[in-house]
Amino acid sequence: MTSARKRGFFHSIGLYFTDRDKLEPAVITFFAVVFSILAGVALIFLVSKDPVTSTKNFLLGPVLRTYNFYYLMIAMVPITFTGLALCIVYQAKYLSLIADSSFYMGAVIATAIGIYLPLPKGLHPAVAMVVAGLGGGFIGLLPAILKIKWRANELVSSLMLNYVFYFFGSFIILYFLRDRNQSILASLPFRPTFALTKLVPNTQLHTGFIVAAVAVVLVSLFIYRTKWGFEIRLSGANPRFATYAGLSVSGIALYAHFISGFIAGVGGAVEMSGLYRAFIWQMDPSYAWDGVIVAMLARKNPKFVPLSAFFLAYLRVGADFMSRRGDVAFEFITFLQGLIILILASDRLVNSFRARRLRSDALKSEALARKAAEVLE
């Protein structure tokens, strides 16, 4: 039985090389990544006075310094959570960015729990994660409800809700949780029991990294091993078929959004308890937008989220390192990110291989058709 499963696993990986339908998108993803990096380097040469150093810092920064590599691992955590959250809604064929609100409000909820709830170490952040997850889940439901009941485009409504929740969240921080002794905008400090332990002493790398890894495993299992994941994938693949086969498509969309929001909410709590001693965000970190890229690069498969989160974190840390040591602003990576989405979203490019294959097939069958016609004559 085990051997059968093992063969299945390797077989499914092997399919990527034998099944052209799977191989071709993988090749395109690879090209998108390479092309975006090249474009980034070209941009550096365009604006930097010392492009060689900047390029080196950008491409090698994350591995040149040990602390940079830890920083990279830390940076992977939040985008892994939002990437997973986006994978789930993509699987259900929705395109909502409400994960941004879930993440932000998750952090706000965790802040309140971190400040006020007296709980023992270990349990304290865990409780915060669960409650933040629930909050994020309910927020995640909103665009799905708006879509099902009033056909509101889920992207538009989620983007506006993101503004609403951002302002609402800062209102809560400012009016209920603010530390008035601080000159900068910050919440009261968390209780010491709230902090996640560090994975490696003297670094910022915290056990949240483990939580993210567990989330990847759980979401992968959820999507590919449980009946709910099966329902989500099936209704995303063809809603009309799902209805015909007896599934309740709108019910599925609702719990998919809840779970997606839950994951993002947990992510917000992990970020708070892992990295901070108080809530000090002055603006929305917008991790959901990174989640879009992570999910697209992973082709909405949670298994590949760590890989694409690593890639994105690498870009970010490299860009950050470069910007602090040179004259190129960190934001230049948004060009690269945008480029990746554009390439991956362009069906014409993604299907170019398949189109060529189909064209040659069609030409062949046309020749056959002519022959058939001659026979008829």
């Binding site: 499914s12 099944d19 709910w228 329902e231 693949a237 015909y244 069958s365 008829l376």
Partner: protein, 519 residues
Amino acid sequence: MNALLEAVRLTKVYSNGTAANKRVDFSVRPGEIHGLVGENGAGKSTLMKVLYGEESPTTGSILLEGKPVSFSSSEDAIRAGIGMVHQHFMLVPSLSLAENLVLGKEPRRKGSRFFDLEKAVRITEELSARYNLKVHARARVVDVSVSMRQKLEILKTLYRGAHILILDEPTAVLTPQETDELFVELSELRKQGCTIIFISHKLGEVFRLCDRVSVMRDGRMIGTHDVGDVDSQTISNEMVGREVKLGVDKSPAQPGEAVLLARDLSFVDDFDIKMVDRVSFTLRRGEVLGVVGVDGNGQTELVQILAGLAKTLTGKVVVCGKDVTNASPGTIRKAGMAHVAEDRMTVGTALPASIMDNLIADRYAGKAFTGPGGFMRQDAMRQEARGIVERFDIRCSSELQSVGSLSGGNMQKVVVGREFTAEAELLVISQPTRGVDVGAIEFLHKRIIEMRDAGKAVLLVSSDLTEVMSLSDSLIVMSSGRIVAYFPDAAAVTDKELGLYMLGLKSQGEEEIRMVLHD
């Protein structure tokens, strides 16, 4: 008389290998209304698409006034004076009729880019008066009746200079009164020198309106007659007649108790036409009940009601003793129904998903596949999928391959494989072999008889008459949404006779039809 438009030895083979037209000769004389009849799939639409430039012929030629022409697009055909009114109207609902008429060729105010609405209205009214096709130029399309939309479509082709009109089943969306009105108008157009090709299923209409009629069957042109020299029986025979090849061995049916009760079902479509009109029947264990009828006479909608994909306005549906009227597909499946959907590409399968996922889509929640905590038993799923793949001979490299990468026949085997192993008492099968290769057809037919012999109740809907006749134990015939005939013994009826019922030329008495209720 010289032909105005001619197709000579025209053959069209699509790139998937289907020969839709086989050496078709077809000629239209100037100033006539020429009926073109044939069942669905007989090749009428393909022939018209070729004449209208939407498809290019594989071999053969088109002659216009004796000169060979070749159209690379419909615009070429329009320039040559050919216009076509499609079954699905090409109109913009939110614009007025006048605006729709001139779309793409708009009148402008002198020396400006301003649209001249008044002139467009004037053009519409002039055309409307000249050809006696009454339309309200200023009304929006969304607010006018279907028949007025159709008149507008005819006027649109006339505005673009058409003198040869192709009308693709124009009466399918009209009431009898509207049909009468259209016929008067078409006769008027003929008087003014227009030539009309009139496609229809309905023989009665062809006899009332047309000068000549051509019959197509199975991609071939069977014959062309002057309407005065021929009777409807001959045409009907030409349309449905075929060499019946009884390739199916089966023992006589042994019907048991009732599994499906359909009582008084109705459905009205978007055009307010009664697609299903108070249909009642009973289906018993161990029998194959065939539903025959020309496509579009309510069979599709009837099946959708039974499967929970459409709602009936009246009556009830009972499956295995359970009332499932207007229930969800999931509930109906639980009551004991399996359903082979007519459209395997958009409804019957999820193309991007794997064969395995498609095969277990109706049973994944059962104990056999979902264990504690909602985890699915991978081995059981694999085993189930492999079992069905083997039993139904689905040709694939692995059960994890996506269904979208399979051929049409194998895709259909995925649908049939799932539904036939669903352990349902009732099987509703719609168009099981449409677009499927010969080998697969024989295979699928054997499976259907197997199901019957295993004591299941089978409702078989197919537009392939040979198929229904050779598989069914008993038959009902649908026409215009109603059951017009019931034959308790399918072997005792000929295809010629069925043709008369299907085409609405004949109908049984109420008593005979009531026998299908078995009560």
